[in-house]
Amino acid sequence: MFSRALRVPRATTPLVRARVAITRPSTVAALRSVTTNAASSHADKAAVPDADDQPFQVILSDESFETYELDPPSYTLDVTKKELKDMYSNMVVTRQMEMAADRLYKEKKIRGFCHLSTGQEAVAVGIEHALTKEDDVITAYRCHGFALMRGASVRSIIGELLGRREGIAYGKGGSMHMFTKGFYGGNGIVGAQVPVGAGLAFAHKYMGRKNASVILYGDGASNQGQVFEAFNMAKLWGLPALFGCENNKYGMGTAAARSSALTDYYKRGQYIPGLKVNGMDVLAVKAAVKYGKEWTIAENGPLVLEYVTYRYGGHSMSDPGTTYRTREEIQRMRSTNDPIAGLKQKILDWGVCNEEELKTLDKEARKHVTEEVAAAEAMAFPENKPEILFEDVYVRGSEPQFLRGRTPDENFYFSS
């Protein structure tokens, strides 16, 4: 049975689902999938104001969302020209940064694991535009984009990848472990960030803050037991948690349908309402998370979101990403569903700005990233000395008398 499942081409999946639909009419709705079209929203060009900061209305595609035990969010979203341009720039900078990381990795300047989010930019950017800095975000190891959106600089992220002293974690964390205000990593253990994220939501509720915790995990991690343990407690205690499965179709190299008995990840909260969203459209992501945040801080309990997205690259730098999917599939997503190209098209269609201005934004983004990468490359490595090796194992001032080195001669004695 497994070997057969392995061989079933992706194109047959709808048939399998259709058969299920016949036997269980209630799942007919599941057949309608959200679009992954990144340019599916509409706005009346005539209604777009001249002023940069004046809001106007965008109508999202009616295939932007699917819900489970939940009224869908509003299909209209108020945006400003400035915000659209910001979103565009954010996504371009994120992609440029990931491409720079790709290059640096291939130049052997980045060590170990490096997971890039090229193709998934709309998720990190859309989420950030729906939150305040007092809200929390936690994710797994594919974290560069989120760290950037939470307020980290490109140079601190690239500096960290290069293992430099001025990196975001002072060269101690690496690609998978980045922390900044309102951003809690960067967890390298698949699924472990989910209960931790529920704890962040718990703290909001405990302290009486009207904030939400956005918790991200992949379609691979969604099968971890502790994800369901976190769901259970979050629902039980009404925590302001927005669980969100970034469904990029593959958990490492295992297609969703080969790992998950139910690939409707937004329904996997069972007793938690779900919201599936077009994760290639930054506007749909923003609308969904904005709605989710309002919903959850109104003490309605948690939500399980599913961001339908796609990763262009391999799972990590060591994965060419072509043994478990076709080059055509990647090419099709890149050329027709790209989140950056999608937003670009909308910006032009709606006359938010002209092509020249967008090119300027592109150039600025590229220039910014180039400068930041150069600054990161100019950063010093941490000095190879015990004062730096042994710092921050324990909170300063609360260290033990000494920590052991490789030999007793190398023991490090804290002065305090």
């Binding site: 809690y184 253990i189 931790v196 703290a203 407690m233 921050d392 609360s398």
Partner: protein, 377 residues
């Protein structure tokens, strides 16, 4: 002599097993009778009061809950049930269900949730019904709690206390009878403590809750009901026992017994017996703290005695005893007159039948005999 023997004598003066812990081990009775014989010498120490280890733990948590609103306790059966071992008894009534929280039986989940709350600035006390069950959650303790500060370059602390009974109990079989001191003790970023007496329990737990690092607090089910006198100072709400400092429970010049948790009491009994039978004075060190380990106290003692036996109830391989012996060898080889030795649990999954179970863990008699052998008396 009375000064040196005080803690053991006091233990003895009031040693009893609480009614809620019905599984009595014969060797505890031994220690009790020893102590009773010493009772008169210490009966009139001013201001002291008898506390069970359970009461001491309860008081420590109540005081910290009182003093810091960011402290809360969560775990299985900690609230309405009053704690599986009644350690959290009365806390729900006193502090309400916001601060004392019953969790579902999902160790990995609630432990991770507690870690998240700690990352967000709260100071959770995460109770495991026993540390055997914490194996479901050990990834969160090790990977999420212990390493985050270092991985974040020092910007993301995690003030959390993991606590619960550790080590073997009595007649509960293999899956419920394991000592995790060495497991957690091996992780950089964690602090690990293991109390023996009521003063240890209270002072160390308060210090654990206040410590800004993740602390693993290893209790012992068999000790919950044992009473110890608590000094006047220790009864106050500002009493803390510093980490990384061992306590010399009994002074001696002929042999150093290094021990932690429940086996400290067994060492005290064995030491007394060694004196009676052979006239030798064993020094008993109560480590209190597994990590950081008080190497200084161990070596100072070895300088004096020239002989060392470590006594613990964990599995022997790469255990606490191995660490203590290696450390002693590294820092105190020149002071040793004989190879340092260790007494540990046996290398078997804990058997159920009582006789076999007794063969699996250190007893007063084993400690006494092995010490006599080492001393050639």
């Amino acid at each position: 002599m009375s000064r040196y023997l005080r803690p053991a004598a006091r233990l003895a003066a009031s040693a009893r097993i609480a009614t809620s812990a019905p599984r009595t081990l014969p060797r505890l009775t031994t220690s009790a009778s020893f102590a009773l014989s010493q009772r008169r010498s210490f009966a009139d120490v001013k201001g002291t009061k008898d506390y069970t280890v359970r009461d001491a733990l309860n008081e420590a948590m109540a005081e910290e809950l009182e003093q810091n609103e960011k402290v809360f306790i969560l775990g299985e059966e900690v609230a309405q049930y009053n704690g599986a071992y009644k350690v959290t008894k009365g806390l729900l009534d006193r502090f309400g269900d916001k601060r004392v929280i019953d969790t579902p039986i999902t160790e990995s989940g609630f432990c991770g949730l507690a870690v998240g709350a700690a990352l967000s600035g709260l100071a959770p006390i995460c109770e495991f019904m026993t540390f055997n069950f914490a194996m479901q959650a050990i990834d969160q303790v090790v990977n999420s709690a212990a390493k985050t500060l270092y991985m974040s370059g020092g910007i993301q602390p995690c003030n959390i206390t993991f606590r619960g009974p550790n080590g073997f109990a009595s007649g509960v079989g293999a899956q419920h009878s394991q000592d995790y001191s060495a497991w957690y003790g091996s992780i950089p970023g964690l602090k690990v403590v293991s109390p023996w007496s009521a003063e240890d329990a209270k002072g160390l737990l308060k210090a654990a809750i206040r410590d800004p690092n993740p602390v693993v607090f290893l209790e012992n089910e068999l000790m919950y009901g044992v009473s110890f006198p608590m000094s006047e100072a220790a009864q106050k709400d500002d009493f803390v026992v510093p980490f990384g400092k061992a306590k010399i429970e009994r002074q001696g010049k002929d042999l150093t017994l290094v021990s932690l948790s429940r086996t400290v009491g067994q060492c005290m009994v064995a030491a007394e017996s060694l004196k009676k039978k052979y006239g030798v004075e064993a020094e008993v060190i109560n480590l209190r703290s597994v990590k950081p380990l008080d190497v200084e106290s161990i070596i100072k003692s070895v300088k004096k005695t020239g002989r060392l036996i470590s006594v613990e109830s964990g599995f022997p391989f790469a255990g606490m005893g191995a660490e203590i012996l290696a450390t002693t060898m590294e820092y105190g080889f020149d002071y040793l007159d004989a190879p340092a030795q260790r007494i540990t649990g046996a290398e078997v999954p804990t058997p159920y039948a009582q006789g076999l179970e007794q063969l699996s863990f250190p007893t007063e008699q084993i400690i006494e005999d092995y010490a006599a052998k080492l001393l050639r008396v």
